[in-house]
């Protein structure tokens, strides 16, 4: 089987799910005739028509709300945010309406909100964000953020089939940079399960999305230069978090470094460090440290963006600090 990119893997999932279930439909800005700003939905309109591939007005509140209404009626909408940065416009609809619907009103809201996320692409302040933390903080929402093409496909299929709202963050840096052969058959990756990206015994790097690849690079370098055996845990799902996998890796290596591309304050790394502290303090040989972006809106110039975002060299340096305790 031919290899497909991360982006093509998401598209495959959309085709397969629309084929499998006629209640699945896509809605978003420029997703139909144009195929989406990044062409994720290319070809869907030709195959499924305007009724199931809806080019919407520029209305994030409108389309997320409409998706919720359709989901109540038994549909399974997949909403595209042209850039995930614009999900902020729909924050009220997602957190006040969608997230609470099942709890307060027993209204099912099986829908997916997906969109290109993340930096390292010279996108500037409004085409580079990682706004996952605010949604992970909201009870009632599920959040996934795959790092591999296989997971991108399998998690998208799981997200569409989930009976609650799943926010699906797609890393745009990875869209066309990574490729993999897709597992055969109906490939569904369960939400809430982390993936061990690399086995090791001296130190655990817990991360997700694009920084998984930076962590793997760092692990390689640390093995060569320091003889350190580094384990890398790719969380994949951010809500719910796979506490079992986090505990298992920490209790195995006794040292943990949490890495993410999102800004530091209020970011997920703090939550993960707190959980490790609560569950596995006795197993730790070193404090849990964080490598994150600086608390800065993401700037455009390469020299600025590269400084603000976490790089492989940062991870290497931080890992050495954790290992040296």
């Amino acid at each position: 089987m031919a290899e497909v990119t991360y982006l093509e893997a998401i598209r495959e999932a959309l085709f397969e799910e629309m084929e499998r279930d006629k209640d699945v439909f896509c809605i978003g800005e420029d997703i139909g005739a144009y195929g989406g700003a990044f062409k994720v939905t290319e070809g869907l309109l030709a195959k499924y028509g305007e009724e199931r591939v809806i080019d919407s007005p520029i209305s994030e509140i409108g389309i997320v709300g409409a998706a919720a209404g359709a989901a109540h009626m038994g549909m399974r909408p997949v909403v595209e945010m042209q850039f995930i940065d614009f999900i902020a416009n729909a924050y009220d609809m997602l957190t006040n309406y969608v997230a609470t619907a099942r709890y307060r009103a027993f209204l099912p809201c099986p829908m997916v909100v997906r969109g290109p996320s993340g930096g390292y692409v010279r996108g500037g302040p409004f085409h580079s964000q990682n706004p996952e933390a605010g949604f992970v903080h909201t009870p009632g929402l599920k959040v996934v953020y795959p790092a591999t093409a296989e997971d991108a496909k399998g998690l998208m299929k799981a997200a569409i089939r989930d009976d609650d709202c799943v926010l699906f963050f797609e890393h745009k840096y990875l869209y066309r940079r990574i490729k993999a052969e897709m597992p055969a058959g109906d490939h569904v990756v369960p939400i809430g399960k982390a993936r061990l990206a690399r086995e090791g015994k001296d130190l655990s790097i817990i991360t997700y999305a694009a920084t998984v690849w930076k962590a793997l690079e760092a692990a390689e370098q640390l093995e060569k230069e320091d003889g350190l055996s580094v384990e890398v845990l790719d969380l994949r799902s951010l809500a719910p978090l796979d506490d079992e996998a986090i505990q298992a890796t920490v209790r195995k290596t006794n040292r943990a470094l949490v890495v993410h591309e999102d800004t530091r304050t209020g970011g997920l790394a703090g939550e993960i460090a707190a959980r490790i502290n609560e569950s596995s303090f006795a197993w730790l040989d070193a404090p849990v440290l964080r490598v994150t972006a600086h608390d800065v809106p993401l700037p455009y110039a390469p020299s600025l963006e590269d400084y603000v975002l976490p790089q492989t060299t940062d991870i290497v340096r931080a890992a050495r600090t954790v290992a040296a305790y």
């Binding site: 439909f25 009724e51 199931r52 809806i54 919407s56 007005p57 209305s59 994030e60 509140i61 409108g62 389309i63 997320v64 709300g65 409409a66 998706a67 919720a68 209404g69 359709a70 989901a71 109540h72 009626m73 038994g74 549909m75 909408p77 416009n89 009220d92 609809m93 006040n96 309406y97 609470t100 099942r102 709890y103 307060r104 009103a105 027993f106 209204l107 099912p108 009870p139 009632g140 599920k142 989930d162 009976d163 609650d164 719910p240 609560e278």
Partner: protein
């Protein structure tokens, strides 16, 4: 009545819609309005006894607007009410017992004590509860009616929005999207003069809310919201239009909010005499009683028999609602997601770990319409 700048929805025949209503239905309209008012009066009594554990929202003076509009829908249609549309919910099948239990936060209330007041729904009976951020239900109902269209179902949606919430982005995005998609949706702007304490003049520079229809490319219509027959007629035309595939209509109903935003609100911002004037000159129930007896030839006894029936129903409902208990605290952790079925109590709560495993979601959670028979 100001004249609308927009093209009005033309009736399909010269006969007004209400002329097809039976005598039983004409009296029915009165029943629902009276039930709304009497039930709210009972809620005030319970509120003063502190049995209503949260705020109390009245629709005094707006009963015709809620009842007349909802009455224009069919059983299979879906509406989304606002806080002052108790009457619309009752027409759609919500029961006084449910309303009372909901206000009193009872374990067997429609939301099992999770939500307040009339924030509840039942898609089966055809109403979806609003949430407090205003305007949000317009996009949601756009999606509900988009589904009707996609599935080629002969169903219509109706969403209410207050004068205040027309200023929200959600209203704009929702009605615009529904208009573009030609969703079978009727949008009713209830202009009751105030959004909490803010008068309409501070809400919009538009002369009248119905003028907003032009900007969305949909027909607009305006009616006297305190005339239940006029409300029925204008809504029925818009509903028929939506049902025949012609899309969205925006209706502005002119009414007046005689009570404050909620029971605690002393209405100090209202000019002296304004409330009293509406009460004496333009009460929707008083007006309809006059019409029932003068024009439709009902007797005073017919009206009084309805009042008596309502009184008894509200008394009985109160007895039933008061008997119910409050929710078990641990029910707070159930049903945030379909899977997992419940959250675990946090470790610092005594006995947490032992309770966690035993507490499973009881049979029937999330399908409370199964409980309908019991509630009624």
């Amino acid at each position: 009545m100001p004249r609308s700048a927009t093209k009005a929805v033309k009736p399909r025949s010269s006969k007004a819609s209400h002329e097809t209503l039976s005598r039983e239905q004409l009296l029915d309209l009165y029943y629902w309005m009276r039930l709304t008012r009497t039930l709210e009066e009972r809620l005030v009594a319970l509120y003063r006894q502190t049995k209503v554990v949260g705020g109390l929202f009245r629709s005094l003076g707006q009963e015709a607007d809620a009842v007349g509009s909802a009455y224009a829908l069919e059983r299979r249609d879906i509406l989304s009410p606002l806080i002052r549309n108790l009457g619309a919910m009752l027409v759609k099948g919500a029961t006084p017992v449910e309303i009372l239990k909901q206000y009193m936060a009872k374990a067997d209330s429609p939301t099992r004590g999770r939500e307040l007041n009339i924030h509840f729904g039942d898609t089966d009976r055809g109403f979806i509860g609003q949430i407090s951020p205003l305007g949000d239900m317009v996009p949601v109902m756009a999606g509900v009616t988009l589904t009707f269209k996609m599935r080629k179902q002969d169903r219509v949606g109706l969403v209410y929005i207050g004068d205040g919430a027309t200023s929200t982005g959600a209203f704009h995005e929702g009605i615009n999207f529904a208009a573009v998609q030609r969703c079978p949706l009727v949008v009713i702007v209830e202009n009751n003069g105030y959004a909490y304490s803010t008068p309409t003049a501070k809400q919009t520079a538009a002369k009248q809310f119905v003028d907003k229809a032009v900007g969305y490319g949909v027909p607009g219509a305006q009616a006297d919201g305190n005339d239940v027959i006029a409300v029925y007629d204008v809504t029925k035309r818009a509903v028929d239009r939506a049902r025949s595939g012609e899309g969205v209509t925006l209706i502005e109903l002119m009414t007046y909010r005689r009570k404050g935003h909620a029971e605690h609100d002393n209405q100090s911002y209202v000019p002296p005499g304004e409330i009293e004037r509406w009460e004496t000159e333009n009460d929707p129930i008083t007006r309809y009683i006059a019409r029932l007896t003068d024009e439709f030839e009902f007797s005073k006894a017919d009206v009084e028999a309805t009042d008596e029936r309502v009184r008894k129903e509200v008394d009985d409902a109160t007895d039933v609602a008061e008997r119910s208990g409050f929710p078990e605290a641990l029910d707070a952790l159930v049903g945030i997601y379909a899977d997992p079925p419940a959250e675990k109590p946090l470790w610092f709560r005594e006995g947490a770990s032992s309770v966690v495993d035993k507490h499973e979601r009881p049979e029937g959670w999330g399908v409370w319409s199964d409980k309908k028979a019991e509630n009624r």
